[in-house]
Point group: C2
Chain length 222, copies 2
Amino acid sequence: MKKAIVLLSGGLDSATILYMAKADGFRPHGLIFDYGQRHNKEIDHARRIARAAKCAYEVVTFSLPWQGSSLLDKRKKLPVRKTIKPTEIPSTYVPARNIIFLSFAMSYAEAVKADAVYIGANAIDYSGYPDCRPDFMRAYESAARKGMKAGVQGRSIKIHAPLIKMTKADIIRAGIELGVPYQHTWSCYRGLKRPCGICDSCVLRAKGFAAAGYADPALEAS
Amino acid sequence: MKKAIVLLSGGLDSATILYMAKADGFRPHGLIFDYGQRHNKEIDHARRIARAAKCAYEVVTFSLPWQGSSLLDKRKKLPVRKTIKPTEIPSTYVPARNIIFLSFAMSYAEAVKADAVYIGANAIDYSGYPDCRPDFMRAYESAARKGMKAGVQGRSIKIHAPLIKMTKADIIRAGIELGVPYQHTWSCYRGLKRPCGICDSCVLRAKGFAAAGYADPALEAS
């Protein structure tokens, strides 16, 4: 059975791609990052999702001493949806984050001889993040092929970003079809007991469930 | 003054590029990695070199749970020069290591608004490492430009690999010209009190100093 590395954040996008990788016939290996996020909730939820899917996983810990993003730095104010202009790069942007995530995924893929990496990047809801765009993904895949033992030996590792052009509602509909346990996912930028409901990420999620025509099982569960 | 991120390993190649970046007119910011190397000697030496060059630096710590390389895993035997075939990828290869290093460098570069990244990759002495080759460097630079805020806003970060086609002897000659304090560098794969003299890295270094026509100041100092 072919293997795929799946980047798991604890959110609904990455939970969905885990089930998509399985549906595509891969045995998934989850990769979870602990890099000083504002709270541990997303890491806990990523582990829960991996366990629910009976998926092996590794947690990579790293430090980013120059962190300046509001996702990492508790002193910075989180953006709420109305303050972000559509063309602006939000303050939650972590410099080169997907580049770092993909690099670890490539290393893991080579170590376990995986054929693919799944990343939940989305170019519609996160249009301001340049590392969520299709042309970046293709360019990165090509660079990695040139720089890795697997690539130069003719076995290249394909990057799958199946959500890249999907709306949140489409993602949720596809995930419900695949049986994704959305009650185990966490999207809120804050680490309170329940999702705050007002941060950028909560608003996107709520709109997505509303547009898909489903109730959010995480709100029912909490 | 323009800034450059310089990847510092504690070895002679990276010490040389630090002085090359200075000679090129950049204010260098050192980037040192602590990722479970066999010994801490190289990290200590990287700090010494940064201090000697009056260069600011950051240490990034990360874990690589799937480590299988002999550079990281003490149970694996280190290769000695005669056992490596010229076209073989040595067991000291860490999956996607330069890809991971460059990703952190790009993140740091964006955070401090640096214009360049210097990496001591060498395609001659390390011909077996695919991530030391020029076409990988160009492909990676191009991917990063597409995936980063700096790149999409028109300020791209250039990757300099000035040693990529130089022999060890050429590197040493250039470094001595620039006043690189080679007595502070450490090349040996082992973490003993003195360099072992027989590992792949010690042999390359000794040959380099001999061919350049200099005595190795690190051997005199130890």
